[in-house]
Symmetry: C2
Subunit: 198 residues, 2 copies
DNA sequence: TGTACATCAGTGAACGCGCGTTCACTGATGTAC
DNA sequence: TGTACATCAGTGAACGCGCGTTCACTGATGTAC
């Protein structure tokens, strides 16, 4: 790699790091390009040598985040022996997202934004920017003996998870991670296992 | 009331109605004042005779919506005889919000926005712009015999509810109202009743 | 009932501001010979 | 190794646009006498 390329890549990384920090702190709309570049020690114009627009950088960061979450997930738990283990694996994973405080908020905001944008909405529903549905179905699916559709169990689990993210973002402090995990497990058991069925 | 006052009030109502429709369709940021006034058949400047800012109108609309939800709620179910009835009453109420499609989305967005604003966050946590927590605690509280904190049951129920709103807004269609209601009941039972406790 | 003046509702052009994006430019690095 | 030129990274002033807000103005309504 030439000296120029090295310099360019270095700059790109510095700008990206500043953007990750600022987007996380203040959100997409509230973070300006001038803030990103000046906080990294560059001029406003330098941004456009590296990305075509602010939105492009944001999407790239989101994709990178998801990729790293996914890698973390796939490296873990290869298979679970029963429902409790499957749910444990899922929530170990979800907790890493919960712990990435700033960014779980951004993901929620992004999800809400996608709500109004057809292309993004499809991307989310197909899992491109979403972590969940197929995972739940495949991990939990084989441990369902009640006949209840696994994708519904997955969707309910996601609902509980995302609802908890809202709760956390508001900082009410009534619930903690253990509470939701436990609740999610109870819910999955009630729906998935014959012995708990109504 | 004088002729002038009548005219003014009429205009105010027409602007408000246009705003409710447009905010609901497109959200707060994406709706401009020019759109509101021209869609109601007035000029841009007329807006400021009725409200100080776009934000003020938005908050007023939200407050009105919540007030009407609350009135509807309070008119209904005076008391429940057991947990199932209490949950039934709560979800009858929540379903009216779910059915107000556009606005349940707006409430979510508003909630997410409040996340970044201290004053709003406090207002939400104190229930000013939120529907839920004390209601659940008071309605469900007396039917908990497991010792599990009623406010946690309420918060988990809210999480499931708001997570479902996200799910609906994305239009995946995996879950319907009946699914969540049922799930919420299962969850509440598991947590509130001794016989279902682990 | 009429007149003079004040107040009000609504108009629409103009202002101001933030901010994303562009662009002509500079100095450093790379390339051809 | 040196020279001439091309290409690149980064600069920062300027542009453009949308949009919330202001303001001088008009015509209608209200008030005082």
């Amino acid at each position: 790699m030439s000296k120029q390329q090295e310099k360019s890549q270095q700059t790109r990384h510095e700008l990206e790091a500043a953007a990750i920090r600022l987007f996380g702190q203040k959100g997409f709309l509230e973070t300006s390009i001038a803030e990103i570049t000046s906080s990294a020690g560059y001029s406003k114009g330098s941004f456009y040598r590296h990305w075509e627009s602010k939105g492009e950088l944001f999407l790239q960061i989101i994709e990178d985040k998801l990729k790293s979450y996914r890698e973390q997930r796939d490296g873990q738990h290869p298979k679970a022996r029963d429902l409790d283990e499957a749910m444990g694996a899922i929530w170990d994973f979800l907790e890493t997202i919960i712990d990435d405080n700033d960014w779980s908020r951004i993901f929620l905001e992004f999800t809400m934004h996608a709500t109004r944008n057809k292309a993004l909405r499809q991307a989310l529903n197909q899992g491109a920017y979403r972590l969940s549905n197929e995972l739940f179905a495949s991990l939990v699916g084989e441990h369902v003996d009640s006949g209840y559709p696994p994708e519904k169990i997955g969707a309910l689990n996601t609902a509980l998870f995302e609802g908890f993210l809202i709760h956390s973002a508001l900082g009410t402090g009534v619930l903690n991670k253990t509470d939701v995990r436990r609740a999610a497990l109870l819910l999955a058991r009630s729906n998935a296992l014959k012995s708990n069925a109504e």
